[in-house]
Symmetry: C2
Subunit: 90 residues, 2 copies
């Protein structure tokens, strides 16, 4: 596989590391994933209000779970934001 394909698979693997076999993330799992795997890109999620707002923003279909598609949309948003920030500092 190419570097791009390997990276895509790696992101899916990290999702599964926190979702387990049920293939979706609950609030606590999303919080753990962000705080352990995205420390350089996102400020630590501490309070329930911040977590609740983020979770509902990502939960597009409103089923109280974050599926892979919703998670990948989140990754796309964070990547784009980081990229835009890096351009501002160039």
């Amino acid at each position: 596989m190419s570097d791009l394909e390997t990276s895509m698979v790696s992101i899916i693997d990290v999702f599964h590391k926190y979702s387990g076999h049920k293939c979706h993330l609950k609030k606590a799992e999303l919080k753990d994933l962000i705080n352990h795997e995205m420390r350089h890109f996102i400020k630590k999620v501490q309070d329930d209000e911040t977590l609740g707002q983020l979770f509902s923003d990502l939960d597009r279909n409103g089923d109280e779970k974050i599926n892979l598609r919703e998670f990948m949309t989140f990754i796309a948003q964070v990547s784009s934001a980081c990229h835009d920030l890096s351009l501002m500092h160039d």
Copy 2:
């Protein structure tokens, strides 16, 4: 950086490899990227009609260029589709 962060940066790097400093992809660059970096996930893009349709689907703001945000949305869609396919074969 974590594996997730490294993968996100790696995807942005591949985008830049094909966009160059102008930070967006033209049709030919998108075609090259797909055909060289996504061979295991996407059938080779051959004809202009397929490329044109894909390009217009991704070009959400209609500026005839694919920016990083639009590219990351594409990556999210392909990753989710591959994931759904892999679940069907489990």
